[in-house]
């Protein structure tokens, strides 16, 4: 066990614990469940840290992906539904070094993404949020919104494309 890694995770918690907890709470609407999600996510991060490739991504991205996935699973468990496997491995992301400029980038990224979401028309944005923050399938969204399944598919695709188009000039893909 690497003492340096433990210190690094502690620093990551200081930096991104609030964002992780905020996302978990937004999805679960349950403080206790959100705490479990955040703990689980940081432990996952810790366990897999030796596999990170420091040249290939941002550990915060991987952390938030884990938090999102675990939080949605917590909601699905409450509803008696199946959990899912994590979609991607940590090799898709990269470790952070926790420097001030990295925190600055995260802050700027959050601003840019919020602005991108504001560019998306209300119905498309609401449809995207039902999928991302409530973990609903497009079939469930169609039932909830009382619209055809094709409409939901279109809203998800077009809405996300608008986000991509907005972020593209600000993001190197």
């Amino acid at each position: 066990m690497q003492q340096g890694d433990q210190e690094a995770v502690a620093l990551l918690y200081e930096r991104y614990g609030g964002a992780a907890y905020g996302l978990a709470y937004r999805i679960t609407s349950d403080g206790s469940a959100a705490e479990d999600v955040v703990q689980d996510a940081f432990v996952s991060l810790w366990k897999q840290a030796p596999r990170f490739d420091p040249e290939r991504g941002q550990v915060r991205s991987w952390l938030m992906t884990i938090v999102h996935h675990r939080a949605i699973d917590a909601v699905r468990r409450r509803k008696g539904r199946n959990e899912r496997a994590l979609p991607e491995g940590p090799e898709e992301f990269v470790a952070t070094r926790g420097r001030p400029e990295e925190l600055a980038e995260w802050t700027l990224e959050a601003e840019a993404v919020r602005e991108a979401v504001r560019q998306v028309p209300d119905e498309q944005r609401r449809t995207i949020e039902m999928a991302y923050f409530e973990g609903l399938t497009h079939v469930e969204i169609a039932e909830r919104m009382a619209v055809p399944l094709g409409t939901v598919k279109s809203r998800l695709r077009i809405g996300l494309e608008k986000m991509r188009a907005y972020l593209r000039p600000r993001v190197v893909e």
Partner: protein, 257 residues
Amino acid sequence: MNCEEAEDLLGAWALDALTDDERGEMAAHLRSCARHAAAAADWRATAARLAATADVVAPPPALRSRVLQAIAATPQDGVARPVLAGAIPRAGDQQRRRPPPVAAARRRFFELRPAAWAAVAAVLVAAVIGLGAWNAVLQRRSGADVGRLATRASSVSALRMNGTQNAGVVVYYANEKKALIVTDGLPALNAATQTYQLWAISGGRARSLGLLPAPVGGSSVAVVPFDAGSAQRIAVTVEPPGGSAQPTTPPVLVADV
């Protein structure tokens, strides 16, 4: 599943909103279709950024120790090398760090527009040289890396502590009328009794720009609305929790924007 059907489901795939059956069919298609595999990864990266739209919420204080205790009791998977240890600078880090490959460089979040960023990066470099820790940042990183923070920026100014000591930077974005404030070496406060507050100063008058998040390891970052046309200085003061309507203490940090 054919390409046309996969195209139709890209949004739902990226947001993990497919049914179990559809997800299996889509995964099978992506294994055999390089074009859609690349598109799916791209779309999923966009969807993942939605995490940034959730509000930051302070976790219960006890959670930190719970997390750290759980980590201390959990073995890592096949320890090969402590990559995360890079978060804590160690002697020799600079020598061990490899230059980023092209693929990694292309992942940088903020686009570096050649004409624009080169000029801005030059300003940033000029402003940063001599800024203590920021100077160290420059020394261990390339100009392109530093330029990431300056993309789209109109100006970069030094934050000064006690009149002379350099304590971070203010990056100003005129088009968006926003300022990015990054502090370095800022002492922690007792949150129960004090907080840092940001101000726009113009002609001796102060307008609150909100509270500065509590510094972690001396660093704090904030993006605030700011128009250099109506104010020329950003200042930070120590105020009671929740902030004040007007500054009640002398500025600890000042930047002329």
